[in-house]
Amino acid sequence: MTTGTIGRIVDFVLSPHIFAPLIYPGLLAATLVLLTLIWAERKMTAKVQLRYGPLYVLKPLGGAIQLIADAIKFMFQEPIMPRNADKWVFALAPVAMMAFTIIPFAFIPAAPGFVGVDVEYSLPLVLSLSALIPPLILATSWAANNKFTLLGGVREAFMMVAYEVSLFIAAFAVASYYGTLSLSKIVEAQSVPGIILNPIAAGVFFVTMLMTASKLPYDIVEGEQEIVAGPFTEYSGILYMLVMGASYMELYVLSLVFVELFLGGWKPVIPALASIHPAFEGISLFIKAYLVLLFAVFLRSVYARYRLDQALEIGWKKLFPLALLSVIWSLALLLVAGGA
């Protein structure tokens, strides 16, 4: 054990209460995800489209720091406040949005026993915190006082009620099988990955995850071909960076939850790795979540956008019954297997 002031600082930083929200899986890792994921998205899309994608900004690494350049540009760009906007809401909603995507990291366990705030109800807590973002999007759309943002806000309101219900039910279908609402306990109890036990819930959760983060084919809220950038039309500079980042962060949070619910969480694919060093468990969670993210953004190069009414129909007529079915499936499994 290290001693002295430095030792205490290191211990303090490495303690889960600080390390989890600030470094991993929290802010620092999330920023890394943000910076690399958008680049990876652009590169993947470019690959499908027979192009190079970002390149010359750092040629040896295939333009890997493109997002850093974009971020710095946004930082030094003039932030425009529209004259008719509600100034406080307009400026603070993106900040709050970012905050609500970061807070869940305190409750998401990153390794066995390694969690910022260990609560029994971490699953509903994380989901509810991410459910706070749509109202903030509504707030931005209202504050910007623009016709396109208003339409985007209405779309978000419609979409929210369509996906949020199915998202929660699918998550609780899994929780009811394991008999706990704590993410860490769910992971501990998972001897077989949840995606095999309850594929319906996994499917519903994944699709609603795409809807939540408004990724293709459900990027209806930001439907640029109809309503420019939806609720974010008026944002510029650093505020736009925040709102754009928030949707990716939300996707990251939900993909962490997805991995913990359905892909065995931090348990490495090769179980022997875990015994080498406990850090491998955290890395394993990260890699799994990153692969889920990559798959989610890869859909961009395959699908077009659904129409609003079609997406609502999918939400209510397909996903909602499927989510209910997944609950029944879980209960049936409980009956057959006699509990996990």
Partner: protein, 173 residues
């Protein structure tokens, strides 16, 4: 800028000092060159197709020419972009739109005029409905040609990047 301490402390105009300090910091070499580097590799043009050179502009981002290599990403709303590409003839009706779009863009913003028509009217030089681009905007680069090939667009991007990094742009804050 709002400064909570200006009433309390006897240091003169704190707001002014803060602004000066910020400006001094931003203008200094490391920050400034970082900023210029970032802007140069993140030129996002706005979706304003003014005329038929738009066909070649679209071709500039297709797989054969792929302008995204330069970090050049056509983006959706003028609020998030920093480059206005005038693609060919600017008619009077369109000039008004271009003017509004330019004013909606956040600073720093650059204008590149594409095609002979944007330079001096080109084949339509004596039409009653066209506008010279340089009378409206501070143009950084003119791309000659009717229409310019996509390679010429790529060259203009590289030249503009160079100008930004050398601090020789026509746009002044």
């Amino acid at each position: 800028m709002f400064c909570p301490l200006s009433g309390l402390m006897m240091v003169g105009n704190l707001e002014e000092v803060a602004r000066k300090a910020t400006r001094w910091l931003v203008e200094k070499t490391p920050v400034r060159s970082l900023k210029d580097w970032a802007i140069a590799f993140s030129l996002w043009p706005v979706h304003l197709t003014t005329s038929c050179c738009g066909a070649e502009f679209a071709a500039a981002s297709n797989p054969r020419f792929d302008a995204e290599r330069f970090g050049f990403l056509p983006f959706i709303s003028p609020r998030q972009t920093n480059l206005l590409l005038i693609e060919g003839t600017l008619t009077k009706k369109m000039a008004r739109a271009a003017e509004i779009v330019y004013q909606q863009m956040p600073s720093p913003r650059y204008v590149v005029a594409m095609g002979a028509c944007a330079i001096d009217g080109g084949i339509f030089y004596n039409s009653y409905n066209i506008v010279r681009v340089h009378e409206l905007f501070p143009v950084e680069e003119f791309i000659p040609g009717c229409p310019p090939r996509p390679e010429a667009v790529a060259r203009a991007i590289i030249m503009l990047q160079k100008r930004i990094r050398e601090g020789r742009t026509a746009f002044k804050v």
